[in-house]
Symmetry: C2
Subunit: 260 residues, 2 copies
C-alpha cells in the first residue's frame, strides 16, 4: 500500500522527528511505499494567494475559491500544489503528524490544507441539489482513502480529558478530523496522541513506538470513526441540520458521530 505522511516540525532532532523516522522505517519494513511531505524541509509556502495560479483572475479581482477552482480545472495551479495533490491521489492512507500548537496544527500545515485543498478538488465537488449537497462529508475526491492524526502535546492527558480545562481532545480535533479529513471523503481513524511530550525518556519513547507500530499495523483494518454521511439521509438538505428524530433535543459535536 502507499502511505503519505504529511509532517510538520521545525526540528528533525525532536520527538516528532524520531516518531516520523520510526513510522517510515516500520511501514517500509512491512513492504509499504512511503512518501513524506516534510513541510519545514520543503519550505512549504503557507499563504493561499493569487500566486497559486498562473491564470489571471476570473473576475476584476482575485477571489480565493473561484480562482482556485479555475486553476485546478485548467491545470494552472502552482507546481507545489500539483505535486501534493498527486501524492494524495497515489496514497491509500495519509498520516498527518504534528505537535499541537495552540490547540490546532502548526501554521505551515494549515497552509498545506488551505492551498492543496483546491476548489474542485477537496470542496466544491459534485452535484448540489435538494437531495445532495455536494460530494462531501463521506463522499468526495479522497473517498476510499484512510487518514489518521498523529499528535503530540505538551499538556497532560487529564488536561484534555472529557472534563479537562483544554477541552476534550476529540472536540478540539473535530475541526480537523471531521472538517478537514472526513469532508473530502477520507475514512478517519481514531487519532494517536502522545501527551507530555517534554517528559520523554527512553522507556516512554519505546512505549510510544510500540503504540505507533500497532496503529501502523492496523491502518487498513482498524474501525474508522463513525461520522455520519451528509447525503446518507441523516441530514435535512439544504439546511444540513441533523434530522430532529435522530438524538432528539441533543446538540454539539458528538451528534455527528454514530454511537455504538
Amino acid at each position: 500500500m502507499n502511505v503519505l505522511i504529511v509532517y510538520a516540525h521545525p526540528q528533525p532532532h525532536s520527538l516528532n522527528g524520531a516518531l516520523k523516522d520510526f513510522a517510515v522505517q516500520h511501514l517500509e519494513n512491512a513492504g509499504h511505499q512511503v512518501e513524506v511531505s516534510d513541510l519545514y524541509a520543503m519550505q512549504w509556502k503557507s499563504q493561499l494567494d493569487a500566486d497559486d495560479s498562473s491564470s489571471p483572475p476570473l473576475g476584476d479581482f482575485y477571489h480565493p475559491s473561484s480562482d482556485s477552482k479555475q486553476a485546478f480545472e485548467q491545470g494552472t495551479q502552482a507546481d507545489d500544489i500539483n505535486r501534493e495533490q498527486a501524492k494524495l491521489q497515489r496514497a491509500d492512507a495519509v498520516i498527518f503528524q504534528f505537535p499541537l500548537w495552540w490547540f490546532s496544527m502548526p501554521a505551515i500545515m494549515k497552509g498545506w490544507v488551505d492551498r492543496v485543498y483546491a476548489c474542485g478538488f477537496a470542496y466544491g465537488v459534485g452535484e448540489h441539489s435538494d437531495t445532495h449537497w455536494g460530494d462531501r462529508y463521506g463522499e468526495g475526491s479522497l473517498a476510499g482513502k484512510r487518514a489518521m492524526l498523529l499528535v503530540t502535546t505538551g499538556g497532560w492527558e487529564s488536561h484534555y480529558a472529557p472534563r479537562g480545562i483544554n477541552g476534550p481532545i476529540d472536540d478540539l480535533l473535530f475541526p480537523i478530523q471531521h472538517g478537514i479529513l472526513f469532508y473530502p471523503g477520507f475514512e478517519v481513524l481514531p487519532p494517536l496522541v502522545f501527551y507530555r511530550s517534554n517528559r520523554m525518556d527512553e522507556t516512554r519513547f519505546a512505549e510510544c513506538c510500540t503504540a505507533l507500530a500497532q496503529r501502523l499495523d492496523t491502518l487498513w483494518s482498524a474501525e474508522p470513526l463513525a461520522f455520519r454521511r451528509q447525503n446518507g439521509g441523516d441530514y435535512l438538505i439544504p439546511q444540513l441540520t441533523l434530522r430532529p428524530e435522530i438524538y432528539p433535543g441533543e446538540s454539539g459535536l458528538s451528534i455527528h458521530q454514530q454511537r455504538k
Copy 2:
C-alpha cells in the same frame, strides 16, 4: 482607546477588506486609535522556526518553546515578533478578523499566533504550584484587554447551528476563543459571524456594517463570554479537570463556560 485589528485576507477588494475598512473608519470616527496588522500586506512569516531568534539554541538543537522563551527574555526575538507584541501591549481591545477556512483561521493568522505568542509572553507565564498552574485561562500577560473574533463563512448559518453538520460555531471557535484568546488573559467578547459571504449585495452589506458598528460601539461595555478561570477554584490542580461537583456528570466544551 487603542484598538488593534489583526486581519488576514489576501484580497483588499473583498468583503473582508470592506468590513475592515469600515471598522477602522468607524472606530477612528469615534475617537479611538486604531492599528491594523494586515498580515497578507505585511507578508507575515508563518512558520515558527529557529530563525525567530538571533540567539543560538539553548540545547544541542533548536527547541520551539525553550528557545522562544530565551529569545523573549533576552530580547533576541525577530523584529516582526517584537513589533506585534508591542502592538498587543498598547491595545485595549484586539479584533481578529478572518474568513473561516477549513473551520479555522487562515494559515497566515495561525502563524501570527504561533510566533507572536512566545513562551514567557503568552504561555509559560507565572508560578506553577499545587494551587496555581501558571497565569493562564483568565490570567496572563494580556489580562485586562478585550478580544473579539470577526469571521465570515461561505456556509449558511444553519450549517453552523447547534445541530448543523459543520458543528456549532461556538464549538468550532472554542480552540480559538478559549485556547488562543482566554488563555493569555483576554476577556473574550461573543464573536460576530457573517454567513454566506458569497451572497452579499448592497442591502446585506449595509446590514452587516450596522451590526459591526453596534459591536464596535459596545467593545468596552459588552458582557464577555463567561469562561471559567483556571485558578479561581473551579478546577482540580494539577489535573486541571472541572471539580466533580460542578455540572456533575457533564463533559464537553460548554462546561468551561458559566451558565446564567
